[in-house]
């Protein structure tokens, strides 16, 4: 029985080795994120129905999604929407979104899919609609390249704390394969010791 177990484990080792090579050659995609520098984190004023927030910023990479850090003062926001528009600074690639506020988690980042191009300037517009309870968005005082924030057409010193998702190659499975290989090798050593 032990011999069979050992043989199965050796086969598993070979398979894991093949998987490592396969992952190196054909890695899957995964998402990673980056964000604006978090300096002296703050929040905007309470945002109610009719308030608008405009953030312009420079995209330094080909991002696939943008994340906005919302907070809702610990209330359950049952009613309300946020209408979002993302476009380039010269009004191209305009995309509109509508988020129901009950899908927003307090103090968490909400991501919206949009394909940003490297070295382009973009404009993010948020319009708050029909909410009873206020919500707000986190900001940062860090210096952000080509970024400007306006709340109800008034320019603010800080900028929205934005996060961006991008596709990356996922090699992490190699760690799992190496880990299992190490455990199998340990087990085989222990079996050999027992046989002796």
């Amino acid at each position: 029985m032990k011999k069979y177990v050992n043989k199965i484990l050796i086969v598993a080792l070979i398979l894991l080795g093949i998987l490592i090579i396969f992952t190196l050659v054909f890695p899957k995609d995964k998402f990673s994120s980056t964000s604006f520098e978090n300096k002296d984190r703050g929040i905007l004023k309470k945002l109610y129905n009719g308030d608008s927030v405009i953030q312009t910023f420079y995209s330094d990479n080909n991002y696939n999604a943008i994340g906005i850090a919302f907070a809702n003062y610990g209330e359950f926001l049952e009613k309300g929407q946020i209408e979002i528009t993302i476009e380039t600074i010269n009004h191209k690639n305009i995309r509109d979104y509508k988020i129901d506020v009950f899908n927003i988690i307090d103090n968490d980042i909400y991501y919206i899919n949009y394909n940003f191009k490297k070295n382009e300037q973009y404009k993010l517009v948020l319009n708050i609609k029909n909410n009873i309870y206020p919500l707000t968005i986190y900001t940062t005082d860090a210096k952000i390249k080509n970024a400007e924030l306006k709340v109800n057409d008034k320019i603010k010193k800080s900028n929205l704390f934005l996060s961006f998702m991008y596709r990356d190659k996922d090699y992490f499975n190699i760690w799992y394969y190496l880990f299992f290989m190490a455990i199998i090798c340990l087990y085989l050593c222990l079996n050999r010791g027992e046989e002796k």
Binding site: F31, S33, A182
Partner: protein
């Protein structure tokens, strides 16, 4: 056998009787002389409009004045309807003819205000600060209320105490089973008397979210109940002052749980290896869903399954090795550990796994030849503990210090040690890999933190950092290693035991020191070298804990370390016990004659905790 049955039956009846007695004369003593509930007689109003079956406020300074019979109000209750939380207050004239005010909030999640007042006055004015609130059924409740759950809990606690005393020989000789029984019973009772949701334990709302989304990476469908439970202000504020209000909240959460059309983003694309510790919570909650149980019951199921896993691991850890059984028993039943095991926290299973690993290591020290089972138990337990928190993986290096003679051959010893070293390095790499390969999310809780800048500071100014570490451990070391939060920490529910916390802590500390110094270890097994090794490991892990927090949770170049919590030192508490325990040359094992004392004190501390939660808390 028959005598045992009769004893248990009689014990249950006696306990039940005593529980009823306590319920009446302790929890209802204020209303024994009144025992009546009645509709309040309204004697004056301002800006109140009478509507069908009730009243409506017409301004932000409306009030209703009611007459109080017998000049005593235990509880005031009324039904209300409003789209937001309502702010209101009670004004009355006390015995010294002074005007007193009590400010209150009632949540819009429930429609019933039931506030415990315990005031003596001939009338009270209920003032509302919102317009258009509909109020109905204002009642004064001075009735005796039999809390069935409380009676049940008290009965179980008293019965178990009597059984422990009666069958003490059995419990002394089966310490692992004794632990399991006490842990499961007291842990379950603790879950029943504690607030059922989150914001009880450190970061439990995060662990709940992670458990719920165990298999998902991008988003999860969820119900309104789930969203509400994650909102701290909604669940933990003083809107829910009484047990009745809490129960109303739970009923409401159960009712609105049916619709799972909401979707929240998880965006957790980081490696999944650190999610394995959520398995018990996930399975517990899924089991509850499968059985079509209420939302709150599903949360309880998650906690119960975590408690079960924790108790089972420690059961095996106690059974594993005679030398450490008493220590593991005591540590396993510490209030902090039972608290963590009964909340959404993975610290408890990490602690249990490490206790098991140390027990297996001691077993290896005691054996002439180590067997495969010992090494596998040792390795796999530390892996379980290290995957979510890599700081504990240096414990694997203990294997390197086992003499080669204990292995099948020198060559075998070297190969086993080499593979353990490789596994340790792979686990340690999980510290840096997330930074290299990136993850998604971003933690907006932190302030001006920057791990790479902090690391740069440590590398370029190592002496400043060492000085900072020494200063940190001189001021905080004892509190972290053997302080109140280590031995009897109950996080945000501390308010329920505030009055007695110092007493509970002193008893726990003296008890732990007694267990340590009344024990004796065989110097042939726990030699000076092994003690030295344990000491070095304890220091290394402590430094890793503080450095990890300095990198990730402390502002750059800060001269103090933020975020280091006592619960991070719980898993290595057994190492501290072994370091401090006296050793002797002869083969004298741990004294047997104090085991009953250890059982009773461990049990009584938990019973006191449960009783305090019943008296001061809002879970029952």
């Amino acid at each position: 056998m028959k005598n045992n049955k009769y004893f248990i039956i009689i014990t249950v009846f006696i306990s039940l009787f005593l529980s009823f007695f306590i319920e009446l004369f302790v929890f209802n003593h204020k209303v024994i002389n009144y025992n009546r509930k009645y509709n309040a007689e309204i004697i004056a109003t301002k800006d109140i409009k009478k509507i069908k079956n009730g009243y409506k406020t017409t301004s932000e300074e409306s009030y209703i004045k009611i007459k109080i019979e017998n000049q005593y109000v235990h509880k005031l209750q009324f039904n209300y309807d409003f789209e937001k939380d309502i702010n209101w207050n009670i004004e009355y004239i006390d015995g010294d003819k002074n005007i007193q005010n009590i400010d209150l909030i009632s949540s819009n999640l429930i429609n019933k205000a039931i506030k415990k007042l315990d005031i003596n006055s001939s009338n009270i004015k209920i003032k509302f600060h919102n317009k258009n609130i509909i109020i109905k059924n204002i009642e004064i409740n001075n009735k005796i209320q039999w809390n069935i759950l409380r009676i049940f809990v008290l009965t179980i606690l008293l019965t178990l105490l009597m059984i422990l005393i009666k069958y003490k020989i059995y419990f002394i000789t089966n310490l692992s089973r004794t632990f399991f029984i006490i842990s499961i019973i007291c842990g379950s009772l603790f879950i029943f008397v504690s607030p059922k949701c989150v914001y009880n334990s450190w970061d439990d709302q995060i662990h709940l979210k992670n458990s719920y989304a165990f298999t998902k990476s991008d988003s999860i469908g969820h119900s309104k109940s789930f969203s509400i439970v994650l909102l701290q202000n909604k669940i933990t504020n003083s809107s829910f002052q009484t047990t009745e209000e809490i129960i109303e909240l739970y009923d409401q959460l159960n009712k609105i749980d049916h619709n799972t059309s909401m979707k929240i983003q998880i965006n957790n694309y980081s490696p999944k290896y650190n999610r394995i510790v959520y398995i018990p919570f996930y399975i517990g909650m899924r089991l509850g869903k499968l059985l079509n149980l209420d939302f709150i019951i599903c949360l309880i199921f998650g906690k119960l399954l975590n408690l079960l896993v924790y108790s089972l691991i420690i059961f095996f850890a106690i059974k594993y090795n005679k030398t450490t059984e008493k220590f593991i028993f005591v540590i396993g039943l510490l209030i902090s550990n039972i608290f963590l095991a009964t909340n959404f926290s993975y610290d408890s299973t990490i602690t249990a796994a490490i206790l098991l690993s140390i027990a297996s290591f001691i077993s290896m020290l005691e054996s002439k030849k180590i067997n495969k089972k010992d090494i596998l138990v040792f390795t796999l337990s530390i892996i379980w503990a290290s995957l979510p928190k890599a700081i504990y993986c240096p414990l694997l290096l203990l294997i390197l210090f086992l003499p080669n003679e204990k292995f099948a051959s020198k060559k075998n010893a070297i190969s086993v040690k080499l593979w353990i070293l490789i596994i340790t390095l792979l686990l340690l790499s999980t510290f840096v890999l997330p930074m290299i390969i990136g993850g998604v999310g971003g933690d907006i809780r932190g302030g001006n933190t920057n791990a790479s800048e902090q690391l740069h500071y440590i590398i370029h100014k190592p002496f400043s950092y060492i000085k900072l570490l020494i200063k940190f451990y001189i001021s905080n070391g004892f509190n972290l290693f053997l302080g109140p939060n280590t031995l009897c920490g109950v996080a945000y529910t501390q308010i329920y035991i505030n009055i007695f916390q110092n007493f509970i802590y002193m008893v726990s500390l003296i008890f732990c020191l007694y267990v340590i110094f009344s024990s004796n270890l065989n110097t042939k097994i726990i030699s000076k070298k092994i003690k030295g090794l344990f000491s070095i490991l304890y220091i290394v892990i402590s430094l890793l804990i503080s450095t990890a927090m300095y990198l990730s949770f402390t502002e750059v170049y800060s001269n103090s370390i933020q975020g280091v919590q006592a619960r991070y030192f719980l898993p290595i508490l057994l190492l501290l016990f072994l370091i401090l325990t006296p050793v002797s040359n002869n083969n004298k094992q741990n004294k047997k004659n104090n085991e009953f004392l250890i059982i009773i004190i461990s049990y009584m501390l938990l019973a006191i905790l449960i009783s305090l939660f019943m008296y001061y808390g809002r879970g029952v």
